[in-house]
């Protein structure tokens, strides 16, 4: 890791809580978000096992600090895209647990009207633009949004998240080359959780320092401790500022881990990794890492942490009951949204 803990090189623009480059309120809000992402996915897993969620369902458990830390550095009008492991990113971007859970349940009130499902979460109102199911498919899309931002001189940034396995696909390389060549305000985030489905990175990738790949394209890059929300936020802040001030792209390799299987049909451990390995990573759980920091700085005590977690559990329970009660799409929804409405073409 080139950076863990808050970097001393970065100047905080926020009021400091001694030694922390964040306010107490910010820390509490982030802790709440981390818990929300975790509890949401736990409930999604349960609903899936009850048959209430269908299809593929890829959970984010273990990677929460990447989402929450990253979104904390973005502007509301920036563009965010992801792979199909995006529930946590969508929540952290500000989409409601209700609209996402309803989408997982396939309901009309879901963020994509029940037509997208787990892999295709969209909310144009917060510029969360998918939810893409083909590995690496969103990387050129994010590059195109950065192109649009530069074209319109809007000073927006596009941030594209993908797993480390997508760094082996052609669209990754084509996109990074053009983003650097054309100086596009794009941030590419590799969520390196160590496994592409069941294939360990060492079995798929010749140079495991994935951020080095940016250097082939004359692009700034860094590896980041993805379990440390502060490290994530500061790295993202540097990359976003670079994009905004000089219109230059960056590659961030967030080193993280998923405790659960690739999808709901995949056991957490046993086939391609050991239980011991998963337990080792759980020792640096991103939620605990933040909680410990907050406690060290006397920002919160155990009761306070529990109160936040309880609040979040209630929010997720609400989301589940909302999703359960929400109606299916109308039958004629089958044929809507294929093309623009009459007269628009």
């Amino acid at each position: 890791m080139s950076r863990s803990a808050p970097s001393k090189k970065t100047r905080s623009k926020k009021a400091k809580t001694s030694g922390l480059k964040a306010t107490a309120d910010e820390c509490r809000a982030w802790y709440r978000q981390l818990c929300l992402l975790r509890r949401f996915e736990e409930q999604a897993a349960e609903a899936y096992s009850l048959g209430k969620i269908g299809g593929f369902c890829h959970l984010y458990i273990g990677q929460e600090a990447v989402a929450v830390g990253s979104m904390a550095a973005l502007r509301e009008d920036d563009y965010v895209l992801s792979s199909y492991r995006e529930h946590g990113l969508a929540l952290a971007r500000g989409m409601s647990a209700k609209s996402i859970m309803a989408e997982l349940f396939g309901k009309a009130a879901g963020c994509s009207g029940g037509k997208g499902g787990s892999m295709h979460l969209f909310d144009a109102s917060v510029n969360f633009l998918g939810g893409h199911g083909i590995v690496g498919g969103q990387i050129p899309l994010g590059t195109g949004m950065a192109f649009a931002a530069k074209y319109r001189r809007s000073n927006q940034v596009s941030v594209t998240f993908f797993g480390e396995a997508a760094a082996n696909i052609g669209s990754f390389h084509e996109s990074l080359n053009m983003a650097s060549l054309w100086k596009l305000p794009a941030v590419y985030v590799i969520e390196n959780n160590g496994y592409g489905m069941g294939t360990a990175i060492a079995r798929a990738t010749a140079n495991m320092d994935l951020f080095h790949r940016a250097y082939s394209y004359d692009m700034e890059a860094e590896a980041v401790d993805g379990q440390d929300l502060f490290a994530v936020r500061e790295a993202m802040d540097r990359a976003v500022q670079r994009a905004r001030s000089t219109s230059e792209p960056s590659l961030l390799e967030m080193r993280t881990y998923r405790y659960v299987g690739h999808s709901m049909s995949d056991a957490a451990h046993g086939t391609y990794r050991t239980k011991e390995e998963v337990e080792t990573y759980r020792q640096r759980d991103p939620i605990n890492v933040l909680a410990d920091t907050m406690k060290q700085h006397d920002l919160i005590d155990d009761d306070g942490l529990k109160a936040i977690d309880d609040e979040v559990k209630a929010e997720v329970a609400d989301a589940v009951s909302f999703a359960e009660q929400a109606p299916d799409p109308e039958p004629d929804a089958l044929y809507t949204d294929v093309y623009a409405e009459e007269g628009r073409c």
Partner: protein, 326 residues
Amino acid sequence: MLTLTYRDALNEALREEMQRDERVFLMGEEVAEYDGAYKVSRGLLKEFGPMRVVDTPIAELGFTGIGVGAAMVGLRPVIEVMTWNFALLAIDQIVNSAAKMRYMSGGQVGVPMVIRGPNGAALQLAAQHSQAFEAWYAHVPGLKVVMPATPADAKGLLKSAIRCDDPVVFMEGEMLYNLKGEVPSGEFTIPIGSADVKREGADVTIVCHSKTVNPALKAADQLDAEGISAEVIDLRTIRPLDTETILRSVSKTNRCVVAEEGWPFAGVGAQVVDEIQRHAFDALDAPVIRVTSADVPMPYNKRLEKSAKVDPPKLIAAVKRVLYLE
């Protein structure tokens, strides 16, 4: 009316739409400094500058995806593929991203873009450079597939495609770029989804599109000399298909030949024949016959290549078969 080449008609359409709407930009290999591999974009860099006429590296998947992304947030990209053969590298972005974005986002995010370039065979370019892909794209809900055969149609349809809120696969032809024809002067568009009766006739309908239109018209001329009156329907748009115009003609002539440059299996003609047999079965006096390219990769040898392609003699023979004259 002006007399323009197909190439210059496309160039006018691009220029007018870029003047009309600053969200429109052109991106692709050799489109800017080289003025276009086939000179369709001649002069556009000079007029609109490098932000709107963008040369790319050879990276079809990447720059097509960049077009999709830019369209998702409100620009109007025209992505030029040097030929549709190379767009196979981009088909993931066309099919998995462009065609599906509106649907899988529940209607929130459309993709108003055009992907355009020459389709099908030219002369002796052999197997990898001589393929017609319209059936591939026309299969996909969410895409529109437009294939003009004349300069006027090229201009009017490209302008409509650029203004369309959906992704449009726009297929031209290397062998069409030098074709001259009359083009209305001034502003005009042709609606997507409307076929055109290129020649009226009474005895038989020839349904064709793109590079089979001119062979069909030539065949109709020769048939006329033999006393056979052929009606030539140019589909112009493959998806959505103008079934009404096809059926109106077949109901009149009772006989039909369907031509296309693609291969026979699951081709566009198969869809046309399906529409005819379902909706105009009682009008038919003979089975509908299809004329396609030979079911082989395109050979290099000139004679072999010629024998693989649709030409007037093959169309005439097919017409005579549906008329039971042979």
